[in-house]
Amino acid sequence: MKRSLSFVPPVLPALSELWMRRRMGNGSGRFLLPLVGFGFLLVLWQVSSWTWAKDLPSPAETWEKSRIYILQPLAKRGEMDQGLLRYVLNSLALVAQGYGLGLLAGTLFGLLLGCSPVFTRMFDPVVQMLKPISPLAWLPLGLVLFQNTRGAAVFTIALCSMWPTVMNTALGLRNVPQDYLNVGRVLRLSRLRMLWKILLPSALPYMFTGYRLSLGIAWLAIVAAEMLTGTPGIGGFLWQEYNALIYEHILVAILAIGLVGWVLDRCMLALERWITTSMS
């Protein structure tokens, strides 16, 4: 008992020092620890392909078979044979349309929900019901409604991605401090000026949190939409290569999807932080 106690303390300072260095960002921990994480993933992948998942290509095989897509990222050898970055850009263009539409609709809808208790009573149950519906469920409906894959994809992305924006915009408006509302009342601001000068600036940090979450969902939805419709984007590529039984390409597509989603989230997070600090 005594021995184990005397053994423990030196471990804690060492760990906390590592933690501190990482937090301060001036040590090797800032880059080293994430690399350890990725290294772990790589090892798991390699071991899996050796042992229980015989059909899973190893990291080296994956690189060998798909490097043309990575090393010539913008090449276009055919409609369904393009560089990885080109696929990603196609997908991003589609996401931008659906996400833009979702933001617009979501913000307006959120404004109505946040401003009017009657409206909230009326539509909150509808929102709660539509929110959990997966993109895979919306897409066939989109195809029926628009008769083309692009319209269906935009429709699906917009519908799936708008909910965090709706909820956060409404939340932001409901949480405007009473003090700010009093200022508006004392100054006798008109309803429109009240919205523009007080409600919106006050709710903006909430809204940007919603926009970030929505972007994450939009990126989730694009892959599903492309897989089902065979659009020449990163999701369409993934599905095509599955049908062609080229598993290496599937893995590369998966990694690309994750990487792009991560970058998108970081960008939105930076924007969100900037808005939050400049607003308060």
């Binding site: 009093n182 009342r185 004392v186 100054l187 000026r193 007080i198």
Partner: protein, 271 residues
């Protein structure tokens, strides 16, 4: 009379919190309403501002019955209530634009700047509230109210969140501004010295519930009233003692005693 609260009563639910409140403020006068916390002082000042409607009685400004916020009444909130996403200048400009909608933006900006200079914030026009100290924030709030060029200025414990030094400094500032602008002021406070430095008359709020206004004290001391000067005046000491004693006694005996206080007897001040 610039501002009159006549037999004003207010209840929240079944609980009557203010009963028979009577305050009269003449043109250019500064009246301080004094009382402990939780008596309904803020409710009272919000009623004067037209943000809350009294259940009985009425509030009049320049003879008109108050039914809502008015252009010629400005209110300084206890917690500043500045908009954090606007600069000091922007906060004041928002009010000026609203008060004088016909003005071009250059005139609005100049007007706002003039009032910020008046409260000695010329150096901090472009700073946002989070970058300002408590005292500076309250100065911005004061500039915002003054820039409306109100007939009546309502102050809801404007200095209660500040440290003693800043507080004294701003009291002097308020006294100077009152002398300069001669606008009518009703100020709520819980500080006897503050009331004496600023007020022409002090109206105590007698604790309840329901709270009600007590007999007033006339402050007939020479101006400008700096702390250093007041501390040597016997009249000041006597007045401070009797206001304090009244408030302490009232706190012990919540039921109203109709005992008149010889306030005017204290008014023999010598410089």
């Amino acid at each position: 009379m610039s501002l009159v609260l006549e037999n004003v009563e207010k209840q929240y639910g079944a609980r009557l919190i203010l009963r028979q409140v009577n305050v009269h403020v003449r043109d250019g006068e500064c009246v301080c309403l004094i009382g402990g916390s939780g008596l309904g002082k803020t409710t009272l000042i919000l009623m004067a501002a037209g943000l809350i409607r009294p259940d009985r009685g009425e509030v009049r400004v320049c003879g008109d019955r108050v039914t809502g916020p008015r252009d010629d009444v400005a209110l300084v909130f206890q917690n500043y209530s500045l908009l954090p996403w606007l600069t000091a200048q922007g906060n004041v400009e928002l009010a000026v634009e609203q008060r004088f909608p016909d003005w071009p933006s250059s005139r609005v900006a100049a007007h706002a700047r003039r009032y910020l200079e008046k409260v000695k914030l010329a150096h901090a026009l472009d700073r946002r509230p989070p970058e300002l100290s408590g005292g500076m924030r309250q100065r911005v709030a004061l500039a915002r109210a003054l820039a409306l060029e109100p007939r009546v200025l309502l102050l809801d414990e404007p200095l209660s969140a500040l440290d003693a030094l800043t507080r004294a400094e701003l009291q002097a500032e308020l006294a100077r501004i009152h002398q300069e602008t001669r606008c009518t002021i009703l100020m709520v406070t819980n500080d006897v010295e503050e009331a004496i430095i600023l007020a022409d008359r002090i109206v105590p709020l007698h604790p309840g519930p329901p709270a009600t206004t007590g007999p007033e004290f006339v402050v007939d001391l020479p101006r400008p009233r700096s702390r250093q000067r007041l501390n040597h005046l016997d009249a000041y000491k006597r007045l401070r003692a009797s206001v304090t004693e009244y408030l302490l006694q009232a706190a012990r005996k919540p039921v109203r005693t109709a005992r008149p206080v010889e306030a005017t007897a204290l008014a023999t001040a010598q410089a």
